[in-house]
Amino acid sequence: MQTLKVISLPIILGMTLLINACQSVTTKDDSLYHELGGKEGISRFVDVFIYEIGETEQVLHYFEDTNIQRFREKQIEHVCLLSGGPCDYTGDEMIPVHEGMNITESDFNAIANAMIRALDKVNISLSARNQLLAIVASMRHEVLYK
């Protein structure tokens, strides 16, 4: 009964190969933009995202002086651009806009959770969700403890 050995070794090797394969993935193409439902889908997602942030008491104080209409507009542009869509982002740069906020790791994750709930509610596929979260995660160092 050496089955487990026989099964688990190829799994480990196979996944190791897959890791290497997915490191070369670039976001130049617009497939994620389309998976998110284009401009319309992204707008729908951002609306729910803002609602979900509103439900997250832990982070509400960061948004006390935020112009929600502008925030919505810039979020849509940003997600559109990041997902490879045909948009320009005209909002603030990440580092200066978060300066002085001292956003904690826990706060960042609370926003990430709001984002996940929103993606869930507008029925974005798990694949598109993970791609978007990976992009957002890559910007985390521009946001945290500034």
Binding site: L4, S8, I12, M15, C22, E105, S106, N109, A112, A134
Partner: protein, 281 residues
Amino acid sequence: MIKSNLRITVFLTLALFLSGHLVAGGKLIGTSGVTQMEGSGGGGMVPWATLSGYDTRDEQSATSFFSYVQVDDFSMKAYGAAFSFYDRLELSLAHQVFNAQDSQLQLSQNIVGAKVKLIGDLIYNSFPQLSLGAQYKSAQHHDVLETLGAGNNKGLDIYLAATKAWLDGPFHRNLVVNLTLRLTKANQLGLQGFGGDKSNNYRAEFETSLGLFLNRHWVVGAEYRQKPNNLSSLKEDDWYNIFLVYIPTKDIAITSAFVELGRLAGLSRQTGGYISIQTSF
């Protein structure tokens, strides 16, 4: 035995007391891993670089676990608790009891663990999270260990673990990979003592785990753990498992696995099931 149980009771009471004072951890669900069978944060068999709780650098957390292994000719249960502080330091305590069905042989040990996160981040760095850990093990049933030819009743394992998760891995799923290098003399985790007639020196053993998140709540994967072979009277083989973890909320994680434990305590190849429940505070 009574002393050790008392110690664990005190520890668990302390855990429950402290848990009332802890903030729910701010990490994302699934990112704390589970508790491995020696009480450290990790997979099922392998300690990872992740710490046991959901605490971020501003928080503390506590977890407890109970695991049960049932293979052809024996069973083992393990339970314990762990604290982690500011996503930096983990302290753990565990107790393991091994029971052979036919011979009624019983072996047990206590394990005190500590782990320090050195550098990196599981998710947010291109570099993996690196942690250095130690497990101090104290086996009971000294007369049995002497008969087996074990060199010592107590032993210290030291391990270096590297763990990395990719949010957008294969099939656009989250993937976690762990590599651990362990310096050890432990025979069958230490339940059969430390060192023996074949070798009484530290050996470096390689351990690895791979897990793929099917979604936020279900993880499938496999683990491999290389083992020493210090006793000529009792052969010891490397261990394997294939696991499925269900994480309904950040409060609880349920791990089930098929395990292959090879030859053990003079018994022929042992395969069977593993179940583990971890609760977080």
